[in-house]
């Protein structure tokens, strides 16, 4: 069971990348909502095909969009309190660590991190393949050094870090209590 955090939950941005767990991110949305979070889902462009966008829009009551807004259009999401990146791919983890913001998801992630919002990253990266690429471990180390929370334990959740949603939410709440 997820414990409700000490502080009153607010707005949770769920950034979702194109990897397996994205298929059932709605389960995480429901779980976080039951803990009191106002959830906004922000997919990377490739993640969109993994998602049921109308369902997530209905569930969250917020626009679910991967593309940048048109110039001059205003932002429709409420200001964020916390960010979690789920199904975080090799690509998005490395780009985040390097300051590459060429998707709306990465731009929002970099901005919120720059603003000092707590960020939890839950990679979905196979321990036998991409996780062995030297860039990945370096990126995780860089992000940790910057104070980003990382939930990556492939011994416990082999092979891609298939962390149950309850654990993701618990870890998020623990990070907020620190």
């Amino acid at each position: 069971m997820s414990e409700t955090p000490q502080q009153k939950p607010g707005v949770l941005y769920v950034i979702v990348c194109a990897a397996g767990p994205a298929n059932h991110v709605q389960d995480f949305v429901v779980l976080a909502q039951s803990a009191g979070w106002d959830v906004c889902v922000i997919p990377t462009p490739h993640a969109v095909s993994f998602l049921d966008v109308p369902l997530l829009t209905r569930l969250t009551g917020h626009e679910v969009r991967s593309e940048y807004r048109k110039s001059g259009a205003s932002e429709t999401l409420p200001p964020c309190d916390v960010v979690v990146v789920v199904a975080a791919t090799f690509n998005t983890v490395n780009k985040f660590a390097l300051g590459i913001a060429d998707t709306r998801a990465l731009t929002i992630l970099s901005e919120e991190f720059g603003r000092g919002r707590p960020v939890l990253v839950v990679p979905c990266v196979n321990q036998h393949h991409l996780a062995r690429h030297p860039a990945f471990l370096k990126s995780l180390a860089t992000l940790r050094e910057w104070g980003v929370h990382i939930l990556y334990n492939t011994n416990k959740y082999p092979p891609r870090n298939d962390v149950p949603w309850e654990v993701v939410l618990d870890t998020l709440h623990q990070a907020l209590e620190q």
Binding site: Y68, S71, L98, A101, D102, G114
Partner: protein, 179 residues
């Protein structure tokens, strides 16, 4: 000397990224042309949504480039005497330093940095939040070390302001003078 500056004009590559000041780059072009610059526009793919491409083609007399040319195709732009990247976004600055040349704009900037010529001016434009991302100030410092002139004064021109067009032009004029 005329062979250095045909038609008595210096060639300026204006590299435009996707941020609100991109919408006003026409004003800068007019100003630069009046100061004797032959301006060529290169936009990132995202920035093409912010500019009036047909209008800028008319104004500059050059194609507005945002994509790579095919192998064997001639370069439609004259050789640059200076380059200015404005507004320079977080993304393009970081990709430039990291050597991720996945847009024509970044590739041209990487080539310029590698060659060490022509002189390059960069005018970052980003939300204060992004400026606090550790990658940004590290990369700005590296560009300065490589000789890129960075015009970034958030204390004087806090976002959404940017260094004024006149100041940018003055800097370019100082760097590349008529013989």
């Amino acid at each position: 000397m005329t062979e250095l500056y045909p038609n008595n004009q210096r060639v300026l590559y204006l590299i435009i990224c996707a941020a609100p000041p991109a919408q006003d780059t026409r004003d800068f072009i007019v100003l630069a042309q009046a100061a004797g610059w032959d301006v060529c526009v290169i936009a990132t793919p995202q920035a093409t949504r912010f500019i009036d491409i047909a209008g800028l083609v008319d104004l500059t007399g050059h194609p507005v480039r945002s994509d790579y040319k095919l192998p064997g195709e001639a370069d439609p732009l004259p050789k640059a005497d200076a380059m200015v990247v404005v507004p320079a976004t977080f993304n393009t600055i970081n990709k430039w330093v990291l050597g991720i040349g996945d847009t024509l704009a970044v590739s041209i900037l990487c080539e310029g940095l590698g060659r060490g010529t022509p002189p390059i001016v960069a005018v970052p434009y980003l939300k204060a939040d992004l400026a606090h991302h550790p990658a940004f100030y590290k990369n700005i410092a590296l560009l300065r070390e490589c000789g890129v002139r960075i015009l970034y004064e958030p204390e004087k021109y806090p976002s959404p302001l940017m260094v004024p067009w006149e100041v940018i032009l003055d800097e370019l004029d100082k760097m590349v003078q008529f013989p």
